[in-house]
């Protein structure tokens, strides 16, 4: 019941947002500022996570294929799992954890401190002012971060294969190169784009819905990050079905 009610409100939110965007194009400066902030803030933690996802993909890939007697499939495994699935999802998860929660809590604070009311009274559409730059900022940044996560994951895997497992780096790279196509990179960027749209819209939506009082902020932020996480993994599955059958 509550879910249906929220879904209905979200639909209204989307319609209102669409209308606001149609009336007035968002300011480029604000978009770039958001993009820069989101990118710079999320970059360090994303790099760390991508490295260690890469290391473990290589380790487990090597283990699995050692039992089957085909170690040189590690490159293929890392390329498939890392490039197609893990990198887009971890990039989205990091952006959701950093930028998404920040959006939800900032907007929720503005809601309870009447700053959103103040925007309205100053004849500035709050959806235009608050949501549009965040959405477009994320949409600019997340595909790029996804590609970055892909290369860092591959690099870390390569390092484990060569330095820790003592296997051939050249074979790994050849496998990986043979597996990863331009289409894979494009699909992963599309995933990043879709995840970015979800993170921004859902996080902002919960911020706007925040109830009165300080606990409203915590609740909004929580609801946002949980909803975004579930939505991203579900959408990831759907997109993989569409792209890879």
């Amino acid at each position: 019941m509550r879910f249906l009610e929220s879904a209905g409100r979200f639909a209204y939110f989307l319609v209102d947002f669409g209308r606001a965007m149609a009336r007035r194009p968002p300011s480029l400066g604000a978009i770039l500022e958001e993009a820069f902030r989101i990118g710079v803030r999320s970059l360090p933690v994303l790099l760390v996570i991508a490295v260690f996802v890469g290391t473990n993909l290589a380790l487990q890939g090597a283990n699995a294929f050692a039992q089957l007697g085909g170690q040189n499939l590690v490159g293929t495994f890392v390329a498939m799992a890392g490039v197609r699935e893990m990198a887009p999802v971890i990039a989205a998860a990091m952006i959701a954890a950093k930028a998404g929660t920040e959006m939800a809590s900032q907007i929720a604070v503005m809601r309870i401190r009447e700053q959103i009311d103040a925007l309205e009274v100053m004849a500035v559409n709050p959806l235009w002012y608050l949501v549009a730059p965040r959405l477009l900022g994320i949409v600019l940044v997340l595909p790029a971060l996804t590609i970055l996560a892909i290369f860092v994951t591959l690099l870390a895997s390569w390092a484990v294969v060569v330095l820790q497992l003592g296997q051939s780096g050249a074979v790994f790279l050849a496998e990986a190169r043979a597996t990863v196509t331009g289409a894979d990179l494009a699909f992963s960027m599309v995933k990043g784009l879709a995840f970015g749209v979800i993170i921004a819209l859902v996080s902002c939506f919960f911020g706007f819905q925040a109830g009165r009082g300080p606990e409203g902020v915590g609740r909004a932020t929580n609801a946002a990050v949980v909803t975004v996480s579930v939505a991203v993994v579900c959408l990831n599955y759907l997109l993989s079905v569409v792209f890879y059958g």
Partner: protein
């Protein structure tokens, strides 16, 4: 209730407005007209619905029944473009300031200019911001972060932001609460001065009877969601209404107390 309908045309009209939150009726069939060029004060105890009234006036809260007209536009019916055009002609101070924490004092005050007066060159924009900050007694505060301000200073920055476009109508939710008597006086003088020089229509929510008597042409009292008294200030202070009398007695009892019974919301 005395229905004084001044000859001056109203810029804002509330007709039979009722607003409920759940079970409680916060505004109960309130009819009020705010005449152009005059200062109307709304007083009443904490929780009487004063802030809700102000939000209904500008269309932030929709009435459950009744009509609100802003410069003749029906606030609940008007399309956003029309409503925003009407709102550009008003300035509003929120009870807690509602300043943007991520911007500096100067950026907050400049916000309406930056949004609606792109035509103003940098120097002219800065001059207007500096001038308004000076009017509210905060000269040179442009670069201060909002977090560094005291409660009274926030309120004054909110005032400066509300008047920076030199609007036709200014709505103040308790401009004096949390201010010391000197600053309060200064704000009262500012209101009188702006009214005289710019012909601005003020709607002021207040607990401060002394200030109200000084600046208001008309006073209305809200009590439990109803407008229990309304009229020219001189008549209002002589009202025979027992609720008004006890409210005035408490507030005018000498020496005038700086303690504000409605503070802390």
């Amino acid at each position: 209730m005395a229905d004084v309908s001044p000859v001056v045309p109203p810029v804002i009209e509330l007709l039979d407005v009722t607003r409920r939150f759940g079970e409680i009726t916060v505004l109960d069939s309130v009819t009020l007209r705010f005449p152009s060029g005059l200062t109307t004060a709304i007083i009443g105890p904490s929780g009487a619905g004063k802030s809700v009234l102000l939000k209904v006036l500008v269309g932030l809260l929709k009435p459950d029944a009744g009509t609100v007209r802003l410069f003749g536009h029906d606030v609940t019916e008007a399309p956003e473009r029309e409503l925003f055009a009407a709102r550009r002609r008003i300035g509003m101070l929120f009870q807690d300031g509602a300043l943007f924490d991520s911007l500096t004092v100067g950026e907050n005050v400049a916000f309406p200019l930056d949004q609606h007066r792109r035509d103003l060159a940098g120097a002219e924009r800065d001059r207007r911001v500096a001038e308004k900050l000076e009017w509210v007694g905060l000269p040179g505060f442009e670069d201060r972060p909002i977090a560094s301000l005291s409660g009274g200073q926030r309120k004054r920055v909110g005032l400066a932001r509300a008047i920076v476009l030199e609007p036709e109508v200014v709505l103040f939710d308790e401009p004096n609460s949390g201010l010391d008597p000197f600053t309060s006086d200064q704000i009262d003088d500012l209101v009188l001065d702006m009214k005289r020089r710019l012909g601005i229509t003020f709607v002021i929510i207040s607990h401060d009877i002394v200030g109200t008597v000084k600046v208001a042409d008309l006073v209305g009292m809200l009590y439990e969601g109803r407008l229990v008294e309304y009229g020219p200030t001189a008549d209002f202070v002589r009202s025979g209404n027992p609720i008004v009398k006890s409210f005035l007695r408490r507030n005018l009892a000498p020496p005038v107390s700086a303690f504000d019974p409605g503070e802390g919301r």
